[in-house]
C-alpha cells in the first residue's frame, strides 16, 4: 500500500524489538469476539489511476457546472472568480497539512495569517475584534445568539427576522433546542419591500429581549435598514446581530459596526473559495472588545518572543473547551483555518479598492439583470434596494426554471419551499461571473413566464 512505508523486513525487525512474533499479537488484548467480526466489507485498495477514474466518473455526472449552464444561483453560496494566487497559497503543504497552532514556534505562518484574517474581518465589519473562524455562516449565527446569552443571561427572547436565510434560522433553532430559557420569535418582513419591518420589533423592545438577528443583505438580497433595527434593540438593552452570507456586500455597504450592530457574523465563501457543493466555506465572527471574553472559538494575538521579535499565538484560550471544559464559551475546536487563509489571501489581492470595485460591479450587473427582466415582462417581487440578488415573480416557478434549464440557464432558486407566501417567486443572483450576454440569455429564457 503506497501510503504505508513499512516493508516486511521493517515489520519483522520492529516486532523483534518489541518482543512479539506476529502483528496480531499486538491486538491480543482486544476481545477476540470483536476482532472476529471486524473485517471491513469494502473492495480491495486501488491504484491512483483507478481511484481517479472512479471519481472523474462521479464528477462527470454533476452537470450543473460552470460552462455547461449560465448560472444565476446564489442563496447563501456565491459564484465569484478566484485569483490563481489564492490557490497557490492554500495548496502549500506547510499550510494545508499543518496542525492546529497550539505550538507557536511551529505555526507562526498560520497564526500570523489568522491574525491578518481577524484584522480584515474587523475592518470589514466595523467591529473591534474577530475570531479565527467558525464552521460557516449559519452555525456562526447560532453561536452569536449563545454569546449574547452569556453577556445577558437573564434575557430570554430571541427575535429572528423571517427574511434571514432559512438554513440560518434552522441552525439557530437546532443550537437552542436543547437549552432552556429561550423564547424564539420570528419578525415578519414587509411584503412590499422585502426588508424586516423595524416597527414589528416594537412588542419585543423590553427587558426580556436578548437579541435580534437579521440578514445583511437578507435572504432576498435586500439591504436591511440595519441602523433602524439596531438602535431600538440597543435602547432596550438587547444585542443587535447581523448575519451576512454574501460578504462581498461589506466592500461597499456601510459596516454593521458603523450601524450599531454588536455582533456581526457571516459566511466567507465568497472570498476565494470554490462552490464545492456547499462546503467548506468559512464562518466569520466579530464583536466588541468589551465582550471578547464571551466570544466562541479561537483568537490569535500578537506578542513578543524571548528575543523580542514580534510573534503570534493563540490567546484568551481560557474561554475554550480544551481548558474550560464544560464551562467553555463553545465546544468549537477544529474551525476552518485553511479557508480563513484563502479569505485572507483573497482580500489581500482584492485590497482596499478592488473589493469595493467588485462589489460595485455586482450591484450594477444585478440592477442590469433586473431591468432586462422587467423589459421581458418579469417584475421584481420586492421594491427594496438589493445587492447582487433579487426575487422575481413568475406564474409557475417550476415551469419557468425548467424552461430556462432547457435553454442552458439555471435561472435561480425557487423561494416557495421555504416561504409558502412566496410560492410565485424565484431568487436570481448575478455576480461578476455573469457576462452581459448571459443576462440576455436569462431574460430570453424567461420571457413570457411572468
Amino acid at each position: 500500500m503506497r501510503f504505508i512505508p513499512h516493508t516486511e523486513d521493517d515489520i519483522g525487525a520492529m516486532l523483534k524489538t518489541i518482543g512479539v512474533a506476529r502483528l496480531d499479537d499486538l491486538l491480543a488484548h482486544v476481545p477476540q469476539r470483536l476482532r472476529d467480526r471486524a473485517a471491513i466489507a469494502l473492495p480491495p485498495g486501488q491504484s491512483e489511476a483507478e481511484v481517479a477514474a472512479e471519481l472523474n466518473g462521479l464528477a462527470a455526472r454533476n452537470r450543473a457546472v460552470t460552462g455547461a449552464f449560465a448560472s444565476f444561483l446564489g442563496g447563501g453560496y456565491y459564484r465569484h472568480f478566484v485569483p490563481a494566487a489564492v490557490r497557490a497559497v492554500i495548496s502549500r503543504a506547510e499550510f494545508a497539512t499543518s496542525y492546529t497552532p497550539y505550538q507557536p514556534e511551529a505555526s507562526q505562518g498560520t497564526t500570523q495569517a489568522i491574525f491578518e484574517f481577524q484584522t480584515m474581518i474587523a475592518q470589514l465589519t466595523g467591529l473591534e475584534v474577530a475570531n479565527a473562524s467558525m464552521y460557516d455562516g449559519a452555525s456562526a449565527a447560532a453561536e452569536a445568539v449563545l454569546m449574547a446569552h452569556r453577556v445577558y443571561p437573564k434575557r430570554t427572547v430571541v427575535v429572528i427576522s423571517r427574511a434571514l436565510w432559512p438554513d440560518y434560522r434552522a441552525a439557530i433553532r437546532t443550537y437552542l433546542s436543547a437549552l432552556k430559557n429561550f423564547e424564539l420569535v420570528e419578525a415578519p418582513f414587509d411584503s412590499a419591500t422585502g426588508a424586516t419591518d423595524p416597527s414589528a420589533l416594537t412588542p419585543y423592545l423590553n427587558d426580556r429581549l436578548l437579541c435580534v438577528v437579521v440578514g445583511y443583505p437578507n435572504a432576498f438580497g435586500v439591504i436591511e435598514p440595519l441602523g433602524q433595527i439596531a438602535a431600538p434593540v440597543k435602547q432596550a438593552g438587547g444585542v443587535a446581530i447581523s448575519a451576512t452570507a454574501e460578504p462581498l456586500a461589506l466592500g461597499l455597504l456601510k459596516s454593521p459596526g458603523e450601524l450599531g450592530v454588536d455582533i456581526a457574523v457571516g459566511e466567507g465563501q465568497s472570498f476565494g473559495m470554490p462552490l464545492q457543493f456547499g462546503g467548506p466555506g468559512v464562518g466569520f465572527f466579530a464583536a466588541r472588545m468589551a465582550q471578547v471574553r464571551q466570544m466562541p472559538g479561537r483568537l490569535v494575538g500578537q506578542t513578543r518572543d524571548n528575543r523580542g521579535n514580534r510573534a503570534f499565538c493563540l490567546t484568551l484560550a481560557t474561554r475554550e473547551q480544551h481548558i474550560r471544559r464544560e464551562r467553555a464559551t463553545s465546544n468549537i475546536c477544529t474551525n476552518h483555518s485553511l479557508c480563513a487563509l484563502a479569505a485572507t489571501a483573497y482580500l489581500t489581492l482584492m485590497g482596499r479598492r478592488g473589493l469595493r470595485e467588485l462589489a460595485a460591479r455586482n450591484v450594477e450587473l444585478a440592477a442590469q439583470a433586473r431591468d432586462r427582466l422587467r423589459a421581458a415582462g418579469i417584475s421584481a417581487r420586492f421594491s427594496g434596494k438589493f445587492f447582487n440578488e433579487f426575487a422575481i415573480t413568475v406564474a409557475d416557478p417550476a415551469r419557468a426554471l425548467a424552461r430556462a434549464e432547457a435553454a442552458g440557464v439555471l435561472a435561480g432558486i425557487p423561494l416557495g419551499r421555504d416561504y409558502p407566501e412566496l410560492a410565485d417567486a424565484i431568487l436570481v443572483t448575478v455576480t461578476e461571473t455573469n457576462s452581459p450576454a448571459e443576462i440576455e440569455r436569462l431574460a430570453d429564457s424567461l420571457a413570457g413566464v411572468g
Binding site: E94, Y99, T119, A178, L253, K254, G279, C313, Q321
Partner: protein, 455 residues
C-alpha cells in the same frame, strides 16, 4: 489597528521561546501596503463605484475600508509563501501527536476535490444535475457504516465537535421521544475538553467517571454512577491513554439495561480499522473525524468533517438534510423529518472534505484500512519499547495507536515536559501532546504513514 494592540497585553510571552532570528519575521500585510497598489485589475480595464452608489443611494454605502491592504500580486504571493515557511506541515515533518492522528494527506485527494464537477457545483443546483455528488455522499455513508459497524450516517457535521453536538442532541431528542427527562452524561476524567463542552451545549450535566489507575474505565464505576437520570456515557475508545477499553461491552450492556445510550467518540478510530467495530462494542452513536482517520488535511486547524453514525433506532433523529433514493433510483435531499434534531449548518456538509475522504477509502480499500491500524499500532508499540528506559509508559496496559509516556526529569533536573517539547522542536519534530490533567506526561502517536527509521 486597534485590534492588534488590545490583544497584545493579554498574551503570555513566556510561552514563546523560539530560535527565530529577527530576519525570519514577516511584516504584517498591512505594513507592506502603499496607497494605489493593487493585486487585481478590474476586468475591462477600469471600474468605478459611482454607478453602484447611485443605484443604492450614498446613505447605504461606506466611504472606504479603513486600513485594508493595498499590495501588488507578487507582493501578496511572497508574503504568504514566506509565512508558509514558518510553519510545520505533516508533508514535511513528523507530528508524533497523541490525541490527534496526523497521517499522510495524499495529493490526489485535493486534485479530485478540485475537479470542476465537484468544485464548481452549486449547492442549490437542481439535484438531477448533481447526481454524482449525491452518489458520492451515499457511497461514503455506506463505507463509513461498513467500517464502524453502524447502521446510518450523516455527513453534515463540519468537525468533530460539531459531530459531538449532533450526537448529544440526538441523545436528547431520543430521550424526549420516550418522554424522558434524563439530564446527565457520564464522561471519563481523561476525556478531551470538547466532550464536556459539547454536553453543556446540548443541555446536559456532566458526571465525571474516574479511570482505574491503570488507565481504563471499569464497568463497576459506571454501574455505581448510573441512575435514572443518566442519558448516556460518552467515551473515546481507545481512550486518551491509547488503551482499548477492556470492559466496553460490559459497560454498554450496563448502560442499555438502565435505558442509557453509549456515545463513542471516534477521535481514535485510527486504531480500530479492521480491529474492532464500535457498532459491535455496543455503541449507539459515534462521530468520526475525517481529518484524523481518513486523511483529509488538518489545514492548520480545519476545515475537517465530523460525520455522525448511529444504530437503526436513532436514525430518525439524524440531522437534516438526509439523502434518500427515489423509486426511480435518483437521489435527493430530504429535510421533512419530524424527529430530526434539525439542521446544524447551511447546505449539506463540508463536501470538499467528503470527496477527499472517499478518495482515500477507495485507495486504501478494506484491506489497506486494516493494515493502517495494525501498522499504526506497531509504530506506537515500537516507540514505546524504544523509549521505555527513559520515558516509561504511564500505564502497564498494552496500548493501541498511541501511548502516554512519563518522565522524572523535572524532579531530578528541573527539565519540564515543556522543555522536552522545545527540544523536540529543535530537532525538527513537532512536539508530542502535553497532558491536560497530569504533569510529566506526553502523548505520542505515530501514524502508519511514518516509517520506522529514515533510510
Amino acid at each position: 489597528m486597534a485590534v492588534a494592540k488590545k490583544i497584545v497585553s493579554e498574551t503570555p510571552a513566556k510561552d514563546i521561546r523560539n530560535t527565530r532570528r529577527s530576519a525570519d519575521t514577516v511584516a504584517l500585510i498591512f505594513e507592506e501596503s502603499a496607497p494605489g497598489r493593487r493585486g487585481v485589475d478590474a476586468p475591462g480595464g477600469g471600474a468605478s463605484a459611482a454607478r453602484a452608489i447611485e443605484l443604492l443611494g450614498a446613505d447605504l454605502c461606506r466611504a472606504d475600508i479603513d486600513g485594508f491592504p493595498e499590495v501588488s500580486e507578487p507582493q501578496a504571493l511572497r508574503h504568504f509563501l514566506r509565512l508558509s515557511q514558518q510553519n510545520f506541515g505533516q508533508a514535511l515533518q513528523f507530528y508524533p501527536l497523541g490525541s490527534c492522528t496526523m497521517k499522510y494527506n495524499p495529493p490526489l485527494n485535493d486534485e479530485m476535490a478540485a475537479l470542476p464537477g465537484f468544485a464548481s457545483l452549486h449547492p442549490a443546483a437542481p439535484v438531477h444535475l448533481a447526481q454524482g455528488a449525491l452518489e458520492l455522499m451515499v457511497r461514503l455513508e455506506a463505507a463509513l457504516a461498513a467500517i464502524t459497524g453502524m447502521d446510518a450516517v450523516s455527513l453534515a457535521p463540519a468537525a468533530g465537535a460539531h459531530g459531538e453536538l449532533a450526537g448529544l442532541l440526538m441523545v436528547r431528542a431520543w430521550e424526549r421521544k420516550r418522554g424522558g427527562v434524563r439530564r446527565k452524561v457520564i464522561i471519563p476524567d481523561t476525556a478531551h475538553g470538547t466532550n464536556p463542552a459539547s454536553c453543556t451545549l446540548a443541555g446536559f450535566e456532566v458526571v465525571v467517571a474516574k479511570s482505574h489507575r491503570r488507565g481504563y474505565l471499569e464497568a463497576g464505576e459506571i454501574r455505581r454512577l448510573l441512575d435514572d437520570e443518566t442519558a448516556a456515557l460518552m467515551v473515546t475508545n481507545p481512550n486518551t491513554m491509547g488503551i482499548f477499553e477492556p470492559e466496553i461491552e460490559e459497560i454498554a450492556a450496563a448502560l442499555h439495561e438502565r435505558g442509557a445510550l453509549l456515545y463513542l467518540d471516534g477521535a481514535n478510530m485510527n486504531a480500530l480499522l479492521g480491529v474492532a467495530k464500535p457498532g459491535d462494542m455496543g455503541a449507539d452513536i459515534i462521530h468520526i473525524n475525517l481529518h484524523k482517520t481518513f486523511s483529509t488535511p488538518h489545514g492548520g486547524g480545519g476545515p475537517g468533517a465530523g460525520p455522525v453514525a448511529v444504530k437503526a433506532h436513532l436514525e430518525p433523529f439524524l440531522p437534516v438534510p438526509r439523502i434518500v433514493r427515489r423509486a426511480d433510483g435518483a437521489l435527493e435531499f430530504a429535510s421533512d423529518r419530524p424527529d430530526s434534531i434539525g439542521r446544524l449548518r447551511a447546505y449539506h456538509g463540508n463536501f470538499g472534505m467528503l470527496v477527499r475522504a472517499y478518495s482515500y477509502i477507495l485507495a486504501m480499500g478494506g484491506d489497506g484500512l486494516a493494515d493502517a491500524s495494525r501498522i499504526a499500532i506497531l509504530n506506537a508499540a515500537y516507540v514505546r519499547k524504544r523509549l521505555a528506559e527513559r520515558y516509561p509508559s504511564a500505564s502497564a496496559e498494552p496500548a493501541m495507536h498511541e501511548c502516554v509516556l512519563t518522565h522524572d526529569l523535572e524532579s531530578r533536573t528541573g527539565v519540564s515536559t515543556l522543555d522536552i517539547a522545545k527540544r523536540l522542536l529543535a530537532y525538527g519534530f513537532h512536539p508530542t501532546t502535553r497532558s491536560w490533567y497530569r504533569r510529566n506526561e506526553g502523548w505520542s502517536a505515530s501514524p502508519e504513514s511514518e516509517p520506522p527509521w529514515p533510510r
